[in-house]
Structure formats: structure tokens, C-alpha cells
Amino acid sequence: MSAMPGWKWLTDGGYTWGFLARVLGKALALFVLLNLAFVLADPVPALGRVSLYNGLLAGRERLPYGEDPAAYNLSLFDLNAMFASHTLAGPRPDARRVIVLGDSSVWGVLLENRDTLPACLTEQLPGTRFYNVGYPTMSALKDLLLLEAALAYQPDAIMWLVTLESLPRERQLDAPIVANNPARVRPLIERFGLGFDPLDPRFVETDFIGRTLIGQRRALADWLRLQAYGVAWTHTGIDQVYGEYTPRSNDFDEDATWQGLNPDATLNDDILALDVLRAGASLTGQARVPLLLVNEPIFIADGQNSDVRYNFWYPRWSYDQYRALLGDAAAAEGWPYADLWDAVAPAEFTDSPVHLTPAGSRALCEAVVPFVAAIQEEADAGS
């Protein structure tokens, strides 16, 4: 073997079989120890709090979500890393801080950050900074999970947008972010007596190997990718790819079922996870943070069979029952509540019954402003 210029440190070792065996033995021992230490220390949550965002890099305006590398964004399950990358974790502004929770319509699918509801509200209500903590999966339990994490940032108020599609009890654990965070979700189920099985098989259980360094390699790689994407995000402001989309349909089959239920069914707490909303209200109440519940706008079709369905998601009977139930629950519990289901014109919906155009987002923003102002006055009076 001849010399390797520049590799003296590697080639000048005078290696013997004993040396190689010791290196391999030590490497194996270190590998085992490191993996064991990883299991014992479980450093991923702590690592998640370490972030280049809000310091070296600009904080993200919305939570990381997406799988297209061209969007410099990714979906991950580590809430600490997700929140650490968000502007919410940045320097506290000299303004009231309101967190806006919800689904993809709040996150802003097909909307640039400047066109989202929180951005519009920040513009409309000087002295208040609204933070987009929406996340694109339909699950109120996912919102509760995010709410609990967001309360650690001591907001001044919470606005929570819901729709019927995020309430079916059977589907609450389908959201990957919920299923992959059993350690956070189970205590919520137990604390608030929520109607879910803590041992539900949809929870992703992490066995011993899964807790090792090797088992956690995906989480570590996600953390690293999140930081790396941050460089591109900081310098481009891009966190979503805006491509062509198929517009939401206006014509439907004559199908009046919803989640396998017929129009003669009665929606109740067994079917809808209203207990999750109660848990959210309880959480915010304990933190003395005002909560505004908003029934978000939906697309109201006028095409074929629109007398049966409001849209692709909702037959009229189920949505009407849901609205009545939510209104009753809000009245009974004393929640500030804004039912804005028809606040946006049908032309301002994009690819789903809840995704809005920039104009639609602005219309919703203008509709919600008086309600926000009211809870702020209430909070100010309370303090």
C-alpha cells in the first residue's frame, strides 16, 4: 500500500490485528453503550428544543408540515422541534399574543403566509400578534395536543377553529401526529377522562430497539433536516409548493350518509368528540387564558344534489345537527363562540370544503374580528 497524501492521520497508525480488534471491540462497546444511554436518556425531546430557528434562522410562521423537498418543509412528530422552529418560540413581542388552532384551513394550504387568517388578524388588530398553530390533519384531539404544547408559551388568548370533519370520535387517533405522540396524548386522555382507549392499537408504540439511537434515527434525521430546511426557508420565505389543484366539487351523488351514518341517526357525544373541546376549554380555563371557539366556514354548494349535501364532506342533516350541538354545548359551557359556517362566499373555496382563497381568508378574518375584540375586552376587564 503506497502513501495517501493528506491521510497521514489515518495511515500512520502502525495497525496490527490487535489494534483492529481493539478498535472494533471498542466501537462495538461504544455502539452498545451509546444505544443504551440513548434509551436511558431519551435525548430526542431535549434535542428538539435545540433549534437554529429564531436565532440564526428566521422562525417559521406556521408549524412544519409537508413532504415535498421543494417546499423546504417536512412533517415530523417531535412537538418540541416543531414549536422550537415556530415564531411562537422567538422573542416575545410587545403585543398581546393569540394562538390560532385548527386544521389545514388555518395552517393555510394553498395560501401564502401573508394570506392566512392569523396574518390577516395581526394586520387588522394592531397591538395583537396572532400565531398560526394550525396543522393540516382533521382531528380535534390533534388540536388539543397542540394546545397543550402551545400553552407553555403563555399566550394571552386562544382561538380554536373547528369543523365537523375534525370531530368524529372514531377518527381522532388517525392523525399521525396523534398516533406518534402517545406519551403526550395518553395523559390528556386520562386527565380529562376523554372517550378514547389509551391502549388503542393506533398508538405507535416504541419498543426497546425503537428507543435506541438506531431506532430513533428517523427522528434525528428529521431534526437535522428541519434545521437544514430552515436555511432555505430563511432565505426564500417558501414553506409550501403552490401547484395546480382540483377545485372542490359542486355536484354530488345522491348520497346522504356521513361516516357510515344515515340521515335518521342522531349525532351525540358517542359519535362526536365534543369532550375534546371541553378538555380544551378546561385547559385554557386552568391557565386563565380566554378561548374563542369558531365554527369555521364551509363551502356551500348549489349544484346537483346540493339539497342533500352542503358539500363533498357534509350531508345537510349531519352538518345541521353538528351546528346545533356545538351551539348548545357552547351556550351550556359558557364558551365564547362564533358560528361562521357561512361567512365566506362559495367562490372563495379552493380544493376542499374548508380551504380558502386569499379573499376568502380575508372575509373570514373580517368576520371573526368582532369576536376576537370581544374576548380581548373581556380578558382586559378580567385582568
Binding site: 493528506g6 495511515t11 502502525g14 495497525y15 490485528w17 436555511v231 426564500t236
Partner: protein, 480 residues
Amino acid sequence: MDFPQIGILLAAAALYVLFLPARWRPTFLMVGSVVGLFWLQPTLPVRWLDYTLPALTLVIVALCWRLTLAPDARVTRADWLALALTAGIAALLLLPRYIELPPALEITSRPPPAEITIPLVAGLSIAGMLLARLASGTRRGLLAGVFVLAGLFVLLKFSPLTTTLAGLARSTTGQDAALASPVDLGWLGFSYIAFRLIHTLRDRQTGILPALGFRDYLSYVIFTPALVAGPIDRAENHGAAVAGLAEARLRDPARITTALGRIAVGLFKKFVIADTLAIFSLGPLTASQADGAGATWVLLYAYAFRLFFDFSGYTDIAIGIGLLFGVQLPENFDRPYLKQNLTIFWQSWHKSLSDWGRFYIYSPLSRALLKRKPKPGNYVIIFSATAATFIVIGLWHGITLPFLLWGAWHALGLFAHKLWTDRTRAWYRGLSDGRRRAWHVVGTLLTFHFVALGWVWFALPDIGQGLRVFAALFGIGGGA
């Protein structure tokens, strides 16, 4: 090469070192490299091509080998055996067309029918071998070989011609020619193979090529670890390494530790550093999104370091695997971004390619110009030879205007550096040690930034966007 492929090569190396009788090593290298040629070839959109292109590589290598045989040399029994073995492996790889193999053993996707392939390849090989026999060792034959390889290179690297050729390939296999694109002819490793072959043809012409049997010639040209991303070894080095394989101590702890160390470093450089930098490095999309000069510089720096870590990482892996098989490939990088001037940079960046350019373009062209009557001025000779060398090196990456500009950029840079050193030699010698060190720092920074700015042409296929990136880097214009 991806992670699993590197893992398979390591496993093969372990078996080779531990169990293979030493006298079989050279033959195994050839057999392994032939299998590797088909195995690493990515699946292509044109039917059968991922089999046909590696098979064609074997035919071309056989013909070039025949051409490089000295006029008085004979094709030996060992050569015939190696040729037969190669043909046998290629024929065996047609089997998946007829029998269902487990996915792990599927080296090629659905190959072409044997009744077409075998007569075609055999006919092509026999005709070529007869022709090569007639032309063997002759100046005309060797030059013809070089021109055919260069022509093939142009066909594969010049997008309009490649598309036309892909259209023909599609028509032959009954596919829609309208969908033809250069991607259809993704001939794995051809750039490196062509340069190795040209090296042997030229060295035969100048009489310095050592005698190589077909087995060793083939394993030199298509040696699996160096197939995808080089380095471009020299035939005499490979020949010497293979000749010593039977006696080589491959179960040597120093060799194994060094090899595994190189591979580990290479894996880290490629899969951790380079792949992370790739997320935000300069490219057509990121360039168009960059918001201002600072952002564009970040993208450019990321691209510069990504390219280095990616390419040098691959080289480390190739050298490490080569060492395990008993073949020490040449170094390709030596901390290039820490060099004080562009001349030294090119002695430490992709060294095997720049050496090739020096041997087969710069030196012959300089000599030819020196012999001209009247003799051109020294600077004219230097500039012409440098420009020709770097334009060829640029076009080697692809026959496009941006690569041409990249080559010209470096040619101009090297020429400017030559002028500068000639005019400042006395001044430099008079500098105190401290000032000289400071000047080295300045030189390193200037060299790095000159190289990094040159990458703009390399990274962007559109000249207009390249110019806009240049403007953006210096705060001019509204972005790229």
C-alpha cells in the same frame, strides 16, 4: 452508489479477502466488474437499454483492447478465456428474461431476447475484432478509435443529438419516439470509461502503454468501485496492482483499517454533510427563490461545499473499497479549497481528470505549438493549451454552453494567475514571512471565491439565470 450498494460491495470484499484463493483474485476482479457494470446501470425508460448499454460497453472495451495490442503481440489463450468468460456472464444475465429470479438476484431489469442479442453482439464483436486486428497498433487505427470514442461521447453529451438517438432507440423498441429525452440514454460511467479508453489508445500510440491482457484491461476500464465517479486511474497502475494481487497481503490489518477508515469518512462526507447541504444549495429552483445577495451567497457556499463533500466522499469510498480488493486507486482531492492559487487548486481538485487533461490535451498541444514555424509566443501557447484543456474538461461534464463557460472561466483564471505570478515573482520573494502568510490567506480566500463563482455556471443549466445569479450575488437586479 447508494448505501445498500456500498454494503453489498463491502460484503463482496469481505468474502474476497477471506475466502478467495489468491491466484483467482485477478479473474474475480474482472468477473465482479462485469457483473457490477450491469448491476449498477440504472433502469432506463427505453426497453432493454439497461442491458444493452453495459453490453455495448463490453464490446467497445474489447475492441479498444484489441486495438491497443502491440502489432507483434498475440491474443493468448488467457485472453480468449477472459473474452469467453465475459461473453458468458453477459449471456447469463439474459436469463431473467426466461426464468423468474428472486428480486435480490435480478441484476438487470427485463433484458432483450437472447435470439436478438447474442447474434447481434457476437456479430458486432467479431466484425469489430477483425477490424481491430487489421488496425491493431497502427497510428490510424488508434486515432480512429479515439475519434469514434469522442464521437460517441458527443452523441451522448450533446442534448439534441442524444434526444435524436434516444428517439431512434425508442422507435427500434416500439416505444413512442416523441417522448425521447437525454435521460433515456443514461449510460452509467461512460464519461469515465471513454477517458480511460482514450488514455490507453493514446499511450499505445506513444508506445508507453504496458502490455495488458484482456482480463486486466477490462477490469481496469470498468473497475466497479471507480465506475460511477472515478477516479480515472492509469492503466499501468492498475496493471501493476493486479499483477501483484496473487502475492498481495490483503488480510493486512493496516490495509483493512485504512480502507474501512476511508470508507467511513466517505460515507459521512457524502450521506451526512453533502446530502444535508444539498437541501439548500444553489440550483435552478433555489436560485430563482433566493431573496437578495446574502441568500444567494448562502446557496452558492452550500453548493461549493456540497460538491466537494459529495465528490470527495465518493472518492474516499471508491479508494477504500478498492484497497480492500487490493487495488489502490489514485487520490482525487487534496483539500482543494485551502489552496492559495488556482494552479494549485487544479492540482488538488479532481486530480485524475486534470492529470488526464494535462497528459492528453495540454502537453501534446503545447508540444505541437512549440514545433510550429513560426513559433507562437509563450503566452499564446500557454493560453491556447490551457483553454483547450479546460474547455474539454468543461464539456466532459456535458456539451452545453454553461459547461463551456465554466471551462473558459477556469482557463482564463489560470492564465491570469500565470501572468500575475510572472509579474510579481520578485515582489513575492521580497515579502517577509508574516506578509507572505497574510498573502497566503488572501490568496486562499480569492481562489475559493473564484472557484465558487465558477460553480454558478456548473450548477445552472441556463446562462440567463447564471447571469442573474451573478448580479444577485453583487446586489444588482431583482434576483435570479
